[in-house]
């Protein structure tokens, strides 16, 4: 079932159907994890992959909404036979390795041990593998900051922005785009000062109005 869903995913041209097939792959992998006595990983697989990541992907597909499939250009047509040849090589390597390496004890041990339960995973994560855990948290922080700075618009104010006449109090993150989320007030004495802080040409606006 996982293989069928994966093949459907690659063969679909519409990315939305492809995403739904990928969800099928994730769900079937989660059930395989349950049979492998790893219930925590199965739950995380369903929640994180089939839940969070695929919702994000489908959201982006809907947001960008590119329906028309452009015709293939001739320049990259050699990639299809090349990829099939590479797939053949990969599968042949795997078959060779599986055929030649059969020395290990090869049966699933009984489910008496507590490997795979949440308790043992948490214990390992916070004792032996504390450093990778912390590095992962730093990585997540970097991803948050990077995603914010990528998705933020380059300039907050458009070129047609006007300044409200008079002295006013502005938020710091409007005046300085680098200080996102900083809501400290910046007080201005006059319209000219506010226009200067915002980078908007106040006099030209007034001249145009006249």
């Amino acid at each position: 079932m996982a293989i069928g869903c994966a093949l459907a995913m690659v063969s679909q041209t519409n990315p939305l159907y492809s995403a739904i097939s990928l969800i099928g792959v994730f769900i079937s992998l989660a059930s395989i994890y349950v049979t492998l006595a790893a219930p925590f990983i199965a739950a995380v697989q369903v929640i994180v992959y089939a839940g969070a990541i695929m919702v994000l992907v489908i959201f982006v597909i809907m947001l960008l909404n590119v329906e028309h499939a452009e015709p293939r250009r001739r320049r990259l047509k050699f990639l299809v036979p090349l990829s099939i040849a590479m797939a053949g090589v990969l599968l042949a390597e795997t078959a060779f390795i599986l055929y030649s390496v059969q020395t290990t004890e090869n049966h699933l041990a009984g489910s008496l041990s507590n490997v795979g339960l949440t308790h043992s995973i948490g214990e390992g994560l916070f004792t032996r593998y504390l450093l990778p855990f912390e590095v992962t948290s730093v990585l997540l922080l970097m991803a948050i900051v990077g995603a914010m700075s990528l998705a933020r618009r380059a300039d907050i104010l458009s070129s047609s922005a006007r300044v409200v006449p008079g002295a006013q109090v502005l938020a710091m993150d409007i005046v300085n785009p680098a200080a996102v989320g900083d809501l400290r007030p910046v007080e201005t004495e006059s319209t000219e000062e506010a226009a200067h802080l915002l980078g908007v040409d106040f006099h030209s606006d007034r001249d145009r109005a006249e």
């Binding site: 996982a2 293989i3 994966a6 995913m9 690659v10 990315p15 492809s18 990928l22 792959v25 994730f26 992998l29 395989i32 994890y33 049979t35 492998l36 006595a37 790893a38 990983i41 995380v44 697989q45 994180v48 992959y49 990541i53 994000l56 992907v57 960008l64 590119v66 452009e70 293939r72 320049r75 990259l76 990639l79 299809v80 990829s83 590479m86 797939a87 990969l90 599968l91 795997t94 078959a95 599986l98 059969q102 090869n106 049966h107 699933l108 041990a109 041990s113 490997v115 995973i121 593998y129 990778p132 855990f133 992962t136 990585l139 997540l140 991803a143 948050i144 995603a147 990528l150 998705a151």
Partner: protein
Amino acid sequence: MGPQLSWYLALSAVLFTIGAVGVIIKRNVIAMFMCIELMLNAVNLTFVAFSSFFQDVTGQLFVFIVMTVAAAEAAVGLGIIIAIFRNRETLDVDDASILKL
């Protein structure tokens, strides 16, 4: 007698190969992105299979970390995709072959 370890490894290899083929032949950025996710999942399957056959919890810890990395990659990658789409109005990777926006 339960299923053997090599069956899981073969399934994982097939999934990884499908993902690799998809990355090569797909043109849509989002489709390539999902193929990369499929390859990560294939590797996760080998980790879990070895972990439960050798009764060692280390493999499952690494699966956890790989999932975290995949989530971070999803956030940043989709941000990059949106930025590219804003600048170029296309999702075809061949149109984004130069780094300059």
